[in-house]
Symmetry: C3
Subunit: 155 residues, 3 copies
């Protein structure tokens, strides 16, 4: 066993680890929300899922789509599309030696913007609330990517 | 060039690397499975994909959806939604100095649960087989997230 | 604060950071492309998004699907399905001490193949252009996974 404290004592890395864990946990909640709406509204995508609610033809009526379920699924996919770049670029950015307060500001704004995006999507709030949440998070990731590519390009 | 052996000699990190590679390779198989079903069942999403099977109106009949293909695609998306949090949280957890046997137990259960989930989805097995695979994997990731946030929160 | 230069001076890791940032930025462009097509073609998935174009029944006609928008979304999802394994496996591969020129060759081919895949998908070019882009990127990721599992398996 080796001492990894060099990496894990780094404050920027610790901050990244905390915010990444929070935003990934929030994303996982979307799975639970989808499951919740599917069960309470009896809306399923697979025949085997509605076996408890009826047999044969009777079960088929639960194989349908529902606005509420589709909305949660779109919010989940949007999370995935935006959190994956944040994780990749954010990890590399954390290791590139940024200023602590600048880095923490990036992470905080991103996490706040994505939580706001989810609230705006699921309520739903009128536009441009959701667009605002989306573009703020998008801008934060691009800002980290810009710093990475400017300072450390190796091709 | 520098010696990275400090990181790569760490046993928890090596275990994480092995299990992450295995589960990502499994996820990549889903792309191959989708391509296989699309070719053998002649079910396509893009007009250019069915050009070899016919021209013009004749080709359009292959632009359709198919239960089997949609099932593989749902299993693939579910993998993506669950493996992304595992990768992010698992990497940070591996670097936070957990006990080796506890960490390996987490990784093993997660990989086993996701493989079981795929088998249950594609066979398909009756519920609650698939739900079990899903929730066991979900719980493992939450358990690592909990440990990370409890011991190393930095906000 | 600690000196992370050991990790960030490693040339393979720096190369991975550069290529990963480039391909993630390219993936983020797909979100912008979807938003662009949704706005210019007035094709929306949520009622609140078309409020500026009309009220009530008048707005509902914009809640539809469009070939062009669906094409961008499929390309985006395919990116996600392939870039996630590249990020996970590529990061672990970079830390496993590969030869610099071999590693850079892997990263370059992957990034080139995925950019070609996107061009072939959105133009669209006739098959097998898109299939070629897909399978080359797929092969690069599998090649890195194979090297990782061969040399460093820990179960």
């Amino acid at each position: 066993m080796v001492d990894l404290s060099q990496l894990t004592d780094d404050e920027v890395f610790r901050a990244f680890a905390s915010y990444a864990t929070i935003i990934l946990s929030k994303m996982m909640l979307m799975s639970a929300a989808t499951a919740f709406y599917r069960m309470t509204r009896k809306v399923f995508a697979n025949p085997e899922d509605c076996a408890t609610f009826g047999k044969g033809e009777n079960a088929k009526k639960f194989l349908r789509t529902d606005d509420r379920v589709e909305r949660v699924r779109r919010a989940h996919l949007n999370d995935l599309e935006n959190i994956v770049p944040f994780l990749g670029i954010g990890l590399l950015y954390s290791l590139s030696g940024p200023d602590l307060s600048t880095a923490v500001l990036h992470f905080r704004i991103f996490v706040g913007a994505r939580i706001y995006h989810t609230i705006a999507y699921l309520t739903p709030l009128p536009q441009p609330n959701r667009a605002l949440g989306f573009f703020v998070g998008y801008g934060v990731t691009l800002s980290m990517a810009y710093r990475l590519l400017k300072s450390r390009l190796y091709l």
